[in-house]
């Protein structure tokens, strides 16, 4: 794989359409997300998406392709049914909360989908595709459809913004009029979510819907301000997520979600550090510094106690430290043990290399030269198995020596770390100087 040069046109072609799709999805979802937050129906999108998946599955079971007119008809009918049920459930909100009803709708739709799929040959992959989606393979032709559909939904929301926003703020009144507007809201919401879930998957659509809207509400009060911030941050996060997915070789949807969450965390931090007047900001900065220092000390304290209590269990902090510094367990091993450890590391790599060499040999023989006869293949397989077993043996030796080193590090590392974290904690618990303290935090507090 590594020897092949990548062409930038390939990369651009590969990431251009997904980025455009992200921007298009953000356009409508960030706005709908604001409604969703105000209505407190966070998981309504999942329920509607699952109902539309059920519709597509029923259509498929009756012999219609999901992309056909009949397929769309079924999907849309089920989404409309969901919209109607959600609109009717509004009066429930006062007594038990609408989320309970949304959750029930979701699990029932999922369960029925599973039962229908069970009767279908090759049904599972169809529903999987419906709910997982793949933003990486969005086609430009689909993009055009999304732009048209979301344009129409957006226009409806612009024209009907007064009654819809009033309803979302809980001031829409009751009666048939409110019910109809509510129903129309859910239909438009269902249409947007259904189409985007099929292309981008549930995870990503949820992320487009909620995170930009939350970031917007953190910084602005008006819908316009919230939207502008949500769109801006969302677009930036999408570009960053796609770039990270490419550069770090990560699955695209998952990488985007994590970057969006990172943006939210950063936004929360910025809001905390920049909100209020100068005194409040200063207090927040100090609190944050103390919280960070306290958190670090708590992790150190817990890790040290864990090391003392269970030296041969997993020690995440020590492992990370050893990996980062490249020191390994050597300081706590005798000269002889150190040599054994080095041998085990070298031999494990050698056996792995041998097994891989044999595997390559066998793979090459599949299509070039004389084919191997079955006994040669068996012989190769048994050598490969032996090498893999021997490698496992060497890894076992490494693990045993590491455990022995940990056993010794138990007191030498554990006790000073406990002492250090306790001393740090004591310093941290002293009251902050109140007057004349600006600028960086003194070292002794950190």
């Amino acid at each position: 794989m590594s020897g092949v040069a990548l062409s930038w046109s390939d990369v651009a072609a590969l990431l251009g359409a997904p980025f455009a799709a992200c921007v298009v999805f953000l356009g409508i979802h960030a706005y709908l997300g604001i409604h969703v937050l105000r209505r407190q129906i966070i998981f309504a999108d999942l329920a509607l998406a699952q109902l539309s998946a059920l519709g597509a599955t029923v259509a498929f079971a009756l012999g219609h392709l999901p992309t056909s007119a009949a397929g769309f008809g079924y999907t849309f009918s089920f989404t409309t049914l969901g919209a109607l049920l959600l609109a009717l459930s509004r009066p429930l909100a006062r007594r038990i909360g609408q989320e309970a009803f949304i959750g029930i709708l979701y699990v029932v739709a999922t369960a029925v989908t599973i039962m229908v799929v069970d009767r279908l040959p090759q049904g599972a992959e169809h529903v999987k595709a419906m709910l997982v989606g793949s933003i990486l393979t969005v086609a430009p032709a689909d993009l055009r459809k999304f732009v048209m559909l979301y344009g129409a939904i957006g226009l409806f929301h612009v024209l009907a913004r007064r009654p819809l926003l009033a309803l979302s703020d809980g001031a829409g009144g009751a009666g048939v009029r409110a019910l109809v507007w509510d129903f129309l809201f859910y239909v438009s919401f269902g249409l947007a979510v259904t189409s985007s879930v099929a292309a981008a998957g549930v995870l990503l659509v949820f992320c487009f819907l909620i995170i930009p809207a939350v970031i917007g509400t953190l910084f602005a009060r008006t819908i316009g301000g919230q939207l502008a911030i949500g769109w801006g941050v969302g677009t930036l996060a999408s570009a960053l997520g796609l770039a990270a997915s490419f550069a770090l070789d990560l699955p695209t949807g998952a990488a985007l979600v994590v970057v969006f969450a990172g943006a939210l965390a950063l936004a929360g931090l910025v809001r905390y550090l920049t909100g209020g007047d100068a005194a409040v900001r200063r207090r927040h900065r100090a609190r944050l510094a103390r919280a960070l220092a306290g958190g670090t000390l708590a992790v150190l304290f817990a890790s040290a106690l864990w090391l003392i209590a269970q030296p041969d269990a997993d020690q995440p902090l020590l492992d990370a430290l050893e990996a980062a510094t490249g020191i390994g367990p050597q300081p706590f091993l005798s000269a002889g043990e150190r040599a054994t450890f080095a041998d085990a590391v070298r031999d494990a790599a050698r056996y792995r290399g041998e097994a891989e060499r044999l595997d390559r040999l066998e793979q090459a023989s599949r299509y070039q030269g004389e084919p191997l006869d079955p006994d040669d293949v068996r012989k190769l397989a048994s050598y490969m198995q032996s090498f893999n077993e021997m490698r496992r043996g060497e890894l076992f030796v490494q693990a045993a020596l590491r455990a022995r080193a940990r056993e010794r590090a138990r007191w030498w590392v554990g006790v000073p770390a406990v002492a250090l974290s306790l001393a740090g904690g004591a310093l941290l618990l002293r009251p902050l100087p109140r007057i004349g303290w600006r600028g960086p935090i003194p070292k002794r507090i950190l």
Partner: protein, 305 residues
């Protein structure tokens, strides 16, 4: 009362008349449709075969149902792929607790025993990395020459649990293998002009098929099943496909097709949907039809290029 008795008698007669041959026959329960088809070839009219995984369902994502326990308990022989591919069978067997189905028990057939395995990893029976490829690559039935070993194990097991059927099973098997040998020669001849043809596969299902028919699998779209490939991986595959002049992208009906189509389009290769098991595509109703379908489809696609 008399009417009820008459009804019961009638019912009993119907059941006895319809059910007698099936009840007499040896019941073989295979995990996959591929093994079921091979068991049918060996057992002929003496056996009633069934598979736990229905045709067209991904065996690696299979979820057993309560009725499967009933079918398992009624079986005389159980045939499994082994190598961790159908590890869920062990849970079912533990649940009904019949020692004859335990590994090495009289009614247990692990069809992978004696197969020249490819991509051997190690000893573990449980799937590694949350994936059903444990000890070695489990898709060995896609090399038709391996039917020899698989049918030998099944014929042995039939002789073990029903000695009176041993002779007929051995004869059936010989007839089947003779016919299959002629087909294998024809299939190899069909794909001989394409020996060494570079292809990309969606999933690591084809090493045995590739070895028999001399294909060069250059890369895999989804190296870890269930996790969507990253854009870097897709871009690498496209570049590699162009550099090695890949002619076909092998796809399986269970997997999402978008990425495979994208790679095929950008690399100028053909997208070929092959059946990884019996019944997963129309026209793959039994074992011979399965291999025939895959060879013909692939040969057609490579010739059109």
């Amino acid at each position: 009362m008399r009417r009820a008795a008459a009804l019961a008698l009638g019912l009993w007669l119907t059941l006895a008349a319809g059910g007698a041959p099936a009840a007499d026959r040896l019941r073989i329960l295979a995990t996959t449709p591929d093994l079921r088809s091979l068991a049918e070839a060996v057992g002929g009219d003496d056996v009633a075969c069934d598979s736990l995984v229905p045709p067209g369902v991904d065996a690696e994502a299979f979820e057993p149902r309560p009725t499967d326990l009933v079918r398992l308990r009624a079986a005389d022989l159980v045939v499994r792929v082994g190598l961790g591919y159908d590890a869920w069978l062990d849970r079912l067997i533990r649940q009904i607790g019949e020692p004859r189905f335990y590994r090495g028990g009289a009614a247990d057939v692990d069809a992978s025993v004696g197969i020249p395995l490819l991509e051997v990893v190690g000893q573990g029976v449980e799937p590694e990395q949350g994936h059903a490829h444990g000890v070695a690559n489990p898709h060995y039935w896609l090399d038709p020459a391996n039917a020899d070993t698989i049918t030998a194990l099944i014929a042995d097991a039939i002789g073990r649990v029903a000695p009176s059927l041993a002779g007929r099973a051995a004869a059936n098997r010989m007839r089947f293998l003779e016919a299959l040998a002629a087909r294998i020669a024809a299939w190899q001849e069909r794909l001989a002009p394409d020996a060494g043809a570079p292809v990309i596969a969606y999933h690591a299902s084809w090493p045995y098929f590739a070895r028999r028919f001399r294909l060069h699998v250059v890369g895999l779209i989804e190296p870890k099943p269930g996790i969507a490939p990253s854009p870097a991986h897709v871009a690498q595959l496209i570049a590699q496909a162009r550099a090695t002049k890949v002619r076909a992208v092998l796809h399986e009906p269970f997997e999402p097709i978008d990425t495979a189509r994208l790679i095929a389009e950008r690399a100028g290769a053909r997208l070929v949907v092959l059946a990884p098991s019996v019944g997963s595509l129309p026209g793959t109703g039994d074992y011979v039809a399965l291999i025939d379908h895959d060879v013909e489809t692939l040969a057609g696609a490579l010739a059109a290029k």
